[in-house]
Symmetry: C2
Subunit: 139 residues, 2 copies
Amino acid sequence: MMSKKCKYAIKALIALAEHYEQGNLFTADISKAQNIPKKFLEQILLELKHAGFLGSKQGYGGGYYMKKNPTEITVADIYRLFDGNIALLPCVSLLRYESCDDCQDEAACTLKREFAKIREQTRLIMVNTTIQSFLTHEK
Amino acid sequence: MMSKKCKYAIKALIALAEHYEQGNLFTADISKAQNIPKKFLEQILLELKHAGFLGSKQGYGGGYYMKKNPTEITVADIYRLFDGNIALLPCVSLLRYESCDDCQDEAACTLKREFAKIREQTRLIMVNTTIQSFLTHEK
DNA sequence: TTGATACCCTACTTATTCGATAGTATTTAT
DNA sequence: ATAAATACTATCGAATAAGTAGGGTATCAA
């Protein structure tokens, strides 16, 4: 299960993607429309901005807008930003490898092969689902 | 990422599967061999027993043994037992559906379709990986 | 130039979960 | 009887989740 923060981020990105290249949206409006606590949403949008997905305009009449193309933002990107690794074990993570605390001889680890397969399948589907995927109204 | 509890469970199951139909193993021996805190492992084995995967024998010379066939225990089973839903959102969970707190009109939810797809792909690979999969030494 | 609007940033809070540990009870072979 | 092993309950400290609080800063309109 993903965190609410991550879910809120995706919902906000979808809302912003619906206005791609059509100016900015207010945090308050997204908050109301998507039923996300405003102060919490502020933090989320800021993180998305720092990660390069969004741009913003400050002051009166300001707001957030999509900076990257919605076709180029994947669920994998957002999941990694807010919830961390896609892999189920640190030792099979593609981008953030770490050895497991309890692993004494990684070469002899019986888990790696299968969990690497699981990670790869999961990663592929998450990379192939973009913000744009949520917008296209086809079956 | 899966919890350590879940990882330990899978490691213990693999160890027990290596002795399938060859009597029981002591918690203490699995603990040492797999580098899992013994008292923590006790809880885990007990849960696996209650879930029907293991059997046990009490008293002197007792221990745990595989009850189900290792080919019939999937990573999905163990993940669901210790870490919960495979689905990233409660509303697309196959076995434990719940509506999302923030969702006002589920019929109009823009997230469901894509996250249902992600859940299904993830589920399939996890269901197709069994405890036996970790034992077969092929590439 | 001042006030309203809106983003920017940090710190705090509260509840829950994670990863264990402790201690007792019970069963069983010898 | 007693030592070895599981069975079960309770507790604990640290981390994380999900928000709240309270400002600061930029912008624009009147």
